[in-house]
């Protein structure tokens, strides 16, 4: 099957059909904000929002996830998603790429040098069985910078089916065999025309042209390593208040804490999102904290994304979705941070 066309009038029946065998998630309103929520009908889906307030990482890696419960009878692992595989509609290129990165960590998608390939069963159960319908962005926001990272508003990496919003219809193109198999089982499509293909290509190039000039990121990791000890970190972190708004809204941040909640002889073990912005993140039992200062924690976040992760996994841990830029209470803009560090000492700039 090649590209097919879905009339927007038939979108409702498409979602119903998809729901028959899948737990469908799509952008929708939850408490006033947009995030990926379980949906059963077209009405619950927000087709307008480009970058949801919360990223879809929570679908596969929830904020708080019970790993197991225990009591005197034994240990139980909670049942997941009533057995249905997950289908996500409307994931943008930045978010679909973030899942590929998370899969390197949790799904061991690449071979580690020591052959110790850890596979996280909670992640794999959800992610491996999922099918991702991703949508190209026709009008990227001013905060979007996906074009910095060999991707762009119409990147289909990490998707099983790539969708182009062509006005009155969606154009769906299978990216993986899994995506092709799911599309084969669904009806409500018509064949695409040559004109559709031209439209898709035009929308892709217009979207990319509408974005600001990207920063050169080749050699970014090395540049950061070279400036690890420079006072520039004090300068850029001065305004940071070390909350977790950036890391919690980030589609790629994946650090977590494991906590036990018990009472008497029963209890549960829970995995909870954690943030390198919090002082307690690195607090040691002795009371010593290797990252006691704000500047050390800001540096860690930047280094992990643009130096350590690429060193280990071969790509930046950032997809340019811009959520951290939008959400930061003090407007600490990661794009400016990288530019400032890059420029530091290059032209004798030592004071911002």
């Amino acid at each position: 099957m090649n590209m097919v066309s879905l009339d927007k009038k038939k979108f409702g029946s498409f979602i119903l059909e998809l729901s028959a065998e899948h737990a469908v998630y799509a952008p929708g309103k939850a408490g006033g904000k947009t995030e990926f929520i379980p949906v059963e009908s077209e009405d619950e889906i927000d087709l307008k929002t480009l970058v949801t307030d919360l990223s879809p990482k929570g679908v596969f890696f929830p904020h708080s996830e019970v790993l197991y419960e225990y009591d005197k009878e034994g240990i139980r692992v909670p049942q997941k998603e009533a057995g249905k595989p997950i289908a996500v509609w409307g994931m943008r290129g930045c978010d679909a790429r973030s899942l590929l990165m998370l899969n390197k960590v949790f799904g061991s998608a690449i071979q580690m040098p020591d052959n110790k390939n850890f596979q996280d069963p909670y992640w794999k159960e959800k992610y491996d069985n999922s099918v991702i319908f991703g949508t190209g962005c026709n009008e990227p926001l001013s905060t979007c910078f996906c074009n910095w990272f060999e991707a762009g508003p119409h990147s289909s990496a990490g998707m099983d089916v790539f969708v182009v919003d062509a006005g009155n219809s969606f154009l769906l193109e299978p990216v993986t065999d899994k995506g092709r198999a799911v599309l084969d089982k669904l009806s409500c499509f018509t064949d695409s025309t040559e004109e559709d293909k031209t439209t898709a290509a035009e929308l892709a190039s217009e979207a990319l042209d509408g974005m600001a000039e990207p920063m050169e990121v080749n050699g970014l990791g090395e540049m950061l390593n070279n400036k690890y000890d420079e006072p520039v970190w004090d300068q850029i972190s001065a305004k940071c208040i070390n909350c977790g708004a950036c890391t919690f809204s980030c589609p790629t941040c994946h650090c977590y804490d494991i906590q036990d909640e018990g009472k008497g002889s029963s209890g549960k073990r829970i995995r909870i999102w954690d943030s390198c912005m919090f002082p307690i993140f690195t607090m040691e039992a002795s009371g010593h904290n290797p990252r006691a200062l704000s500047s050390q924690r800001v540096r860690q976040r930047v280094m992990h994304k643009y130096s350590y992760f690429p060193e280990k996994y071969g790509e930046f841990l950032c997809t340019g979705c811009g959520r951290c830029v939008t959400v930061c209470p003090v407007n600490l803009d990661i794009r400016e941070v990288l530019k400032t560090i890059n420029e530091y000492k290059k032209q004798g700039i030592t004071n911002g």
Binding site: G31, D53, T247, V325, T326, V327, P329
Partner: protein, 321 residues
């Protein structure tokens, strides 16, 4: 001379005359709806200072960051009325010394709440903002709107009584004086009058949104404990999940911990990435404190914070029932 020019000139003078080592102000941010904190140490940097409807940050948080990073430094700070109360509170609570701070008041007509602007543009991205005083013009791809200032102000500003710094060394322009605000407690009274079950439902719905990022706590100038109760893990006081049972406890304890200390600046609510109505509870507590102890946090530099003081004639309902 407008406020921004006046402010720049004052900062420059303070720096050049070595009255301060550092000045905390605001500059234009990377996004049209957000100014960003500015740390001035040179006259050149002072040229970047601004004050307008986007300057929502309460800069006094920086006094207590990283264990009083500015100890032994003279620091100047630009303050709105609410921010000035935070500085005073920091002084009364012995976090900073009055003689080490140069307080520069700015005439404030309220700061914007991003979510209200986005509601007005129906979610369309704003690419440019111009503060005209009574109106604010926002522009984006294919639209330009002139918004009534009142329509986009932070809820803290709509309920504000003291827009001017009560304690200052310099004031940039004309003070507005106290703003009589009869309507300010309406939301709280309405909420109070609801049946218990409805109040609980509303509270639960609000705090259920919480993702525990602690942006509210970290932008709060009154939240500066060396180790916050949520970070204590030996023993652990409360759970860290985003179940409302955990989140409600976090928010309620925080409310009570800032009782008599919250200056109602609204920084918490503007910082919240999940748009939780955080301020109403804080304002309710402030209302109780005023009623019982006659104290308004940070208003009187010669006063004592309500929770650090005891008067024989104060209402003791909470003890006597």
């Amino acid at each position: 001379m407008n406020t921004t020019d006046n402010l720049r000139k004052t900062i420059k003078t303070l720096i050049s005359e070595k009255k301060v080592d550092l000045f905390l102000g605001w500059e234009k941010g990377s996004l049209p709806l957000s100014a960003t904190p500015l740390f001035v140490t040179t006259g050149e940097q002072a040229e970047r200072a601004i004050f307008d409807v986007t300057c929502g940050n309460n800069l006094s948080i920086y006094f207590t960051k990283d264990k009083k990073q500015y100890a032994n430094k003279k620091v100047g700070i630009a303050v709105k009325g609410c921010d000035a109360r935070s500085v005073v509170l920091n002084i009364l609570e012995k976090q900073i010394k009055r003689e080490d701070v140069v307080i520069v008041g700015v005439p404030c007509n309220g700061v914007l709440d991003k979510k209200k602007v986005l509601a007005a543009t129906e979610g369309r991205e704003v690419l440019e903002l111009v503060d005209n005083g009574d109106t604010v013009t926002v522009k984006g791809k294919g639209f330009e709107l002139s918004l009534n200032r009142q329509e986009i102000l932070s809820s803290s500003c709509l309920a504000c009584i003291y827009p001017d710094a009560q304690e200052y060394d310099f004031f940039m322009g004309e003070a507005r004086g106290e703003v009589p605000n009869e309507e300010r407690v309406k939301e709280i009274i309405d909420f109070q009058n609801l049946p218990d079950s409805d109040r609980w439902e509303q509270t639960r719905a609000e705090y259920q949104k919480c993702i525990r990022c602690y942006a509210c706590r970290n932008v709060c100038p009154s939240c500066y404990c060396n180790v916050c109760f949520v970070d204590q893990n030996d023993p652990k006081w409360i759970g860290s999940t985003c179940e409302y049972t955990d989140s409600v406890i976090f928010h309620v304890i925080r409310n009570l911990h800032v009782a008599g200390r919250c200056v109602e600046c609204g920084a918490c609510e503007r910082a919240c990435p999940m748009d939780i109505n955080l301020l109403m509870m804080n304002r309710k507590v402030a209302m109780e404190v005023k009623d019982r102890f006659g104290d308004v946090a940070g208003l009187d530099i010669n006063g004592k914070p309500a929770m650090s003081d005891f008067k024989e004639d104060e209402k003791q309902k909470f003890i006597m029932g």
